[in-house]
């Protein structure tokens, strides 16, 4: 868990935690200033999402930050790109979310020979009925895990563009709507670059957030080992322990409630300033586009709902800025050669762009 001062004085690339209790400073009488009344829809949704979170963290230990970003992405009706080495529980995360919200789940392992129709589905001629029928692909689901998305060529990656943006799939000229909520959780390995196809900017921009999943700390890893090996066969967590405590309808409601979270005009201006700074900052080849501004506000609202607040503050925007902007910015060759990371540039932007004062 980070504290705010660390984030301002230390340029480390650690993502800030999204947890509410640690974001306020010590002796903070404002800790409750953002708390709603008990019957407030935001408060009800907050309780529900915290319950879902509780179920997920039964399975995912030591990855609170990624869990929170996945839930923010779910609440903001966006998609999440997770970067991390294999074996850190990405599939388990998606399975757990799907189980907790009683949703459908599909997993596609992206490979170089994967075809677009393998993702979206295709039409075939049924000789029995003498008619064309549509065989729906794995994309027709609530939660889609696109594992190692950068291993498939561009045309297969592009097959996800329509479903991610429009939430529909066109097969043989007919648009098929996807059941909501729909969320893509794509993964890519940051270390292995051989035989991969870098995601184009258009596709990257469609991911609301970019989370990095790190190795768990020693205590968490010990807890994982104990949990998996005691009374279980095999090396994977049994998702049966996760209770389905919400429905997809609840998720849709929570998404709607998230949109009602109050945002002051100064915060819209702040989000724009940040995104514009990402375009004008020295050493940046490509900055973030207007989708990033929208994403900042959407994610900040979802974050407030996750925390149980009532209105967005500049701190919410700052805390979500790194995962929102990271995959939308690319560094110039000079900075890359010097080993500068995008996250450190974002930290500089956050420190130097004028924060609002109401």
């Amino acid at each position: 868990m980070s504290d705010i001062n660390d984030s301002t004085t230390d340029n480390s690339n650690q993502e800030q935690s999204l947890q509410p209790q640690d974001s306020a400073p010590e002796n903070d009488p404002t800790a409750n200033d953002n708390k709603p009344a008990a019957k407030d829809p935001i408060q009800l949704c907050h309780r529900k999402i915290q319950a879902i979170r509780g179920q997920i963290t039964k399975a995912i230990i030591g990855q609170d930050n990624v869990v929170d970003l996945a839930l923010v992405s779910l609440l903001a009706a966006g998609h999440l790109l997770i970067e991390g080495v294999p074996g850190l529980g990405k599939t388990l995360l998606v399975k757990s979310i799907a189980k907790a919200i009683s949703g459908d789940f599909s997993r596609i392992q992206f490979t170089p020979d994967l075809m677009p129709s393998d993702v979206t589905g295709h039409a075939f001629f049924d000789q029995k009925d003498s008619s064309f029928k549509v065989r729906k692909g794995p994309a027709f689901t609530n939660l889609l895990l696109a594992d190692e998305i950068n291993r498939a060529p561009a045309k297969t990656q592009a097959s996800l563009l329509e479903v991610m943006q429009e939430q529909q799939i066109t097969i043989e000229g007919t648009a098929h709507t996807i059941d909501k909520p729909f969320m893509v959780l794509a993964t890519q390995n940051p270390l292995e670059q051989e035989g991969t196809y870098a995601l184009p900017e258009a596709e990257l921009d469609r991911f609301l957030l970019n989370a990095t999943i790190e190795y768990p700390d020693a205590a968490s890893e010990q807890a994982i080992a104990k949990m998996i090996t005691e009374g279980h066969v095999g090396d994977s967590f049994a998702t049966e322990q996760i209770e389905a405590i919400a429905t997809v309808k609840d998720v849709l409601t929570m998404q709607k409630v998230a949109t009602t979270v109050e945002v002051d005009d100064s915060l819209y201006a702040y989000a724009v300033r940040l995104v514009q700074a990402s375009r004008q900052w020295p050493g940046i080849r490509n900055g973030a586009g207007p989708r990033a501004t929208i994403a900042l506000i959407r994610c900040a609202k979802a974050l407030v709902l996750l925390r149980g607040g009532q209105f967005v503050t500049p701190d919410d925007i700052k805390q979500i800025a790194t995962p929102v902007l990271r995959h939308r910015m690319s560094l110039s060759a000079e900075l890359e050669i010097e080993g500068v990371k995008v996250t450190s540039v974002i930290q500089d932007i956050l420190e130097q762009v004028e924060a609002p004062r109401g």
């Binding site: 404002t30 002051d264 004028e354 924060a355």
Partner: protein
């Protein structure tokens, strides 16, 4: 001065060749010259740095200004080296303490910016000339073109500047931005009143000065030697002296002496008859032989001159000014002299213009300089910190002088005027301003309210709880659009002076504060009704 002991080869050189010679002389004595310069100048530099740590650049400028004094030991070393005399550091120190102050005032005032300073220095230091005699001497030495020495002055100043910034950039390039010990060093320097950047610049400047000075002094000295060698024909004098020495040696050669004595004895001992005839015959024979040899020589010369080497015809062309009215040939020596006079005049005029401009500038800046030196040690800590304090942050004007005199009264008036956001905003803005200027809180432009609050909490300021409450109320209003009640505002505003304003007269202030609060409360109650 014994020219026979001179270690350089005396011959007429042009200005730049003389400077080349100076460079070689400087290279030969470089180590000693560098150490000497450092020994005489570094103590003063360090003492001044200790007394005025906040102005390292000004100190280096001062050291630079006194450079003519630091250069004198270098000239001593060179002048002795020219005559094969070694100089020891002890002698340099002794010289610096005793003989280093001849005409010092002139050297660091109106002669300081002379472009031929290093050329003129030996006249004062080595010849001990002053006043009219010095002027006449310099006038004589400057009669040939002093352009080279002026040029080298300019070039070495440029080298000094380039070296200063080059070394500084070289050092800075190797300092990573986010290394903690650098930040720590900066913090240490800031606390002691030193600015790390200016200190590095100052040290680099000093270093460049140390390195360039030997070459500058040696260039001037070698030019001076060259001028004297030309004007006083040292080379010829040396040759004559050598010839004279040779002649003197021959005179006392015992073999010759013995031979001469034998000839004399032989001459006087031969019979008179022989002695009267013999000379006439010899004389005639010698004259004939000489005439014959002369005729042969002439013939040989004529033969050589009639050869193809002397019959070659060359065509050359050049531009000439056509002036039929004044077809006079200009005397090249006169032309050189007039050019030299022109250069000298121009250099002198430019020096005077520069000096006058400098004096005007210093007079213009005099109040600021006096103020600076008056502030002294007090400024060392406080003013430096104030310089680094931002006047604008988060889009807010945080200059204390731009805030109302009575913050609370103004805020309460705004509240009564139904401008609640402005009222609370003023309290919060004034709090930030006070925190920055009076409590030395360091905020960045990108800090949010909670981040500022965290810094205040970490600093363990007595007002941290109050500021946290104010921040909470402000955030609720600013982002949650939730207006605090009048009571809460009244309470928070009336407590503001206790935490942020100095208590010069606590009783009076408390009374007025209570009075204001009571008035405001009754007014607000009326408004609410």
């Amino acid at each position: 001065m014994d020219l026979s002991k001179i270690s350089i080869k005396l011959r007429p050189r042009n200005g730049y060749a003389a400077i080349d010679l100076g460079t070689r002389m400087a290279q030969r004595n470089l180590k000693l010259m560098l150490i000497s310069f450092i020994i005489v100048s570094l103590p003063l530099y360090l003492v001044l740095l200790f007394i005025f740590p906040e102005r390292p650049l000004l100190i280096t400028f001062f050291i630079w200004w006194l450079k003519p004094l630091w250069e004198r030991p270098l000239l001593l070393i060179l002048s002795r080296d020219v005559f094969h005399q070694a100089t020891h550091l002890k002698e340099v120190l002794k010289f610096s303490l005793t003989n280093n102050y001849k005409q010092w005032f002139q050297s660091i005032t109106w002669r300081r910016f002379s472009p031929t300073r290093s050329f003129d220095a030996p006249v004062v230091q080595l010849e001990n000339l002053s006043g009219k005699v010095r002027r006449e001497r310099l006038s004589a030495l400057h009669s040939r073109s002093p352009t080279a020495i002026s040029g080298i002055t300019f070039v070495l100043h440029l080298v000094e500047a380039l070296m200063t910034f080059g070394v500084m950039l070289f050092i800075l390039q190797f300092i990573p931005n986010d290394i903690e010990w650098i930040l720590f060093l900066e913090q240490v320097f800031t606390n002691t009143g030193l600015d790390l950047f200016y200190l590095i610049l100052s040290l680099c400047w000093y270093l460049a000065m140390v390195i360039v000075a030997p070459f500058y002094v040696a260039g001037g000295f070698s030019s001076y030697l060259n001028q004297r060698s030309i004007r006083e024909a040292w080379d010829l004098e040396l040759v004559f002296r050598q010839l004279a020495n040779k002649h003197t040696k021959k005179k006392f050669d015992y073999k010759n002496l013995v031979a001469a004595l034998l000839v004399c004895i032989f001459t006087f001992s031969v019979p008179q008859g022989i002695s009267s005839e013999q000379p006439a015959n010899n004389e005639t024979t010698k004259v004939d032989a000489y005439a014959k040899e002369k005729a042969n020589s002439r013939q040989a010369i004529q033969q050589i001159q009639s050869g193809p080497e002397y019959k070659r015809v060359e065509q050359t062309w050049e531009f000439r000014k056509i002036n039929p009215d004044k077809p006079k040939e200009e005397d090249p020596e006169k032309k050189n002299k007039s050019n030299s006079n022109f250069d000298k005049g121009l250099a002198k005029t430019l020096s005077w213009i520069f000096l006058i401009l400098l004096v005007i500038f210093l007079l213009y800046k005099l109040p600021a300089i006096i103020e600076y030196f008056d502030s002294g040690a007090k400024a060392k800590n406080k003013n430096l910190k104030d310089i680094n304090k931002p006047e604008q942050l988060f889009g807010l004007d945080l200059k204390q002088e731009n805030l109302p005199d009575d913050i609370v009264q103004e805020a309460q008036a705004l509240w009564q005027a139904k401008q609640q956001r402005e009222a609370l905003g003023l309290l919060y803005q004034a709090s930030l301003s006070k925190l920055i200027h009076d409590f030395d809180c360091e905020f960045e432009d990108g800090f949010t309210e909670l981040e500022c609050q965290t810094i205040v909490s970490r600093m363990q300021l007595p007002l941290k709880d109050y500021f946290a409450e104010l921040t909470s109320i402000w955030r609720l209003l600013a982002y949650g659009h939730q207006l605090p009640t009048s009571e809460i505002f009244l309470q928070i505003s009336s407590q503001w002076p206790e935490h942020f304003e100095p208590k010069n007269d606590p009783n009076a202030e408390d009374d007025s504060s209570i009075k204001n609060t009571q008035q405001a409360a009754s007014q607000m109650e009326t408004d609410n009704e």
